[in-house]
Subunit: 207 residues, 4 copies
């Protein structure tokens, strides 16, 4: 009987590998369920079951449910970051670069539906009493945009005078997020969104 019980669990050479594998499986399961059902409707038990490990194992790898969610967010962030970096690297000019980034983001969304929307479920939703902070994903992206903007506008003399780069970065990411969310909700043509956002942001940043 013991051989065919949970065959996926065998063939684990080293304990270290086994632990790593459990974590991977849990993270993949968490990602799937968080995206499908949302944070509040996903229980650690569900994640463990989906990952085919015992309930208790969950807490061997994550301090609590929130930590698991944040791990998922971090994973998504890195994934998107790499994805965009590869795609948008060769874009030229302010407008071209913005468009390339937008297109990459949408392509990532197509490849991993719901992941970005779920990962941005931050602020209030998973609030914990400990109030430890963990900068929201959107804000971190805003900070990146602040840097990106400096680079993109370098040849045209930098960010227009009087504009605070930090504020601009957040404004950009906010604009993209809100416009995209609503467009998605309304089933709007994606091309129009990309075009409008690109022009809108380029005009705002151009000298």
């Amino acid at each position: 009987m013991s051989e065919n019980l949970a065959p996926v669990r065998k063939a684990l050479k080293q304990p270290a590998k086994r632990k790593a594998q459990s974590r991977e499986r849990l993270l993949a399961a968490a990602r799937k369920l968080f995206v499908e059902r949302g944070y509040h409707d996903t229980r650690p038990q569900d994640i463990a079951k989906e990952a085919d490990v015992g309930h208790g194992t969950f807490y061997l790898h994550f301090a609590d449910k929130r930590a698991c969610f944040l791990a998922f967010v971090e994973e998504a962030r890195e994934e998107l970051s790499e994805f965009v970096a590869q795609r948008a690297a060769k874009a030229k000019g302010l407008e071209g670069s913005i468009e390339a980034v937008l297109v990459s983001i949408y392509e990532y969304s197509d490849l991993h539906p719901g992941v970005l929307a779920t990962a941005m479920t931050d602020d209030v939703v998973i609030a914990s009493d400990s109030a430890d902070g963990q900068t929201p994903l959107l804000q971190r992206w805003g900070e990146q945009w602040a840097e990106t903007v400096k680079t993109l506008t370098a040849e045209s003399g930098g960010i227009p005078a009087g504009l605070d780069a930090g504020v601009v970065g957040q404004a950009i990411v906010g604009a993209i997020h809100q416009a995209s969310s609503v467009a998605h909700r309304q089933g709007k043509q994606r091309a129009a969104v990309v075009k409008t956002l690109t022009k809108f942001l380029a005009r705002a940043l151009r000298g």
Copy 2:
């Protein structure tokens, strides 16, 4: 002590007035607690207690907790709407108008700290199974901005060619929301935020 014990409850001649007053009291209590503790950490019981009415009375006025929250959101929306309309009415020009609106919003926030941030807690947080929809506050404001932008750009030939007004409206509100939230979180100077956002948006919209 006996004089100030529930003095608000006296002299209620007509049941209709009495009921209306209860609702008002509940709504005020709800607003206070939702802002102070957030949606999830506020129980109908707490609201009733704060309003100095029985638990059951809460359900005499609101179908459920969610309905109460939405009533609070609606109240805040109308309040802000009036507030901004009065303040920004006499502003002149694209840049002037944008600035006036931004300043009004910040003034409202000073007068009613936390209300806007709480009222925007829409989307996922208070999700119900019934999935009735209720357009998020931010999106509604985005739609208003779309209209506003058409008016403001009328003299300079309307919205720049190729821009989708709906997308632009959402982009504006997203930019304002995100930039303001982060600025607030970081304790940034408000003047810089107003200035940057005003210029940023005006540049984007100018012909």
Copy 3:
């Protein structure tokens, strides 16, 4: 429009009549709702509303919900009693009398669907702490049957020797109730039920 607004409420000559009318209306409403929804799913509020009187008025006429239900039961009992008495009076012989009673009961059930089944909802369902007793409807009918049986068997020498009349009465009513309930639930032909029950009981009682 004003003429047909609650026309039932006007033209109340004397207060005494008004009170009696309220009670009647409440009882009719109670009967309707108890039958349609059952005891537990009918609230005094619902009854008052259906009767088109204020919620508080309910307690002007009934001590509590239970008393209202018992009043409904009593009404049904009297109604059925009269109904059966009229129909079964002229029946001849043991078998004929039993059949006449059974047929009358079924006719009553057709005229007032659900009333008997609901009225028999006694024992546990509406249990109150006060445990005042109120003999269950079924038991009272059993007692009546005990008397009836004595009369019907008089000419053949009375109840067969060794049989306790009280027990027999309850047995008869129990047999009728259970057989009819299940037959109704199973959509069985009524004629077969009447025939079988009549023969069954007549054989048991014949000398």
Copy 4:
């Protein structure tokens, strides 16, 4: 103190056994409380407490309160079934068999006071919206009686002509139930009840 603190909980080697034991304890506690207080006055919490387990454990074993009650009913049904089968097996003749069954039932009732009365609390009392049905205990017994009667009357030519076996089965169980309930309520001599019911039913069934 340490010796008698939850001594039942010790020495539980395997989790499977532990789980089974919990269920047993819960079921025993449920039986006790349902019989003592009735369905509506027994809360899952009470059952858990009586079983000396946490509240949540209750829902580890039963989907809901209703499922727990039905499990109790099933247990009682099987218990009585075995009990009667053993006692009434060697009875001879129609009258003898009926009497043996009746006596067995009363003996079971003496051994487990209140269990049968409680288990028959089916129909309306524990009604759920899902309306899944679950044939009432009394009806099931009626169906069994239909079979029993066929066997018992086999030698005398089967069920008397014109009688529907199904109807007869339900009539018998109804007669027994109602007569016994009332006799119990009235503190009537048990021997008289057995004697009367036996004769009554035997006469009805004899050819």
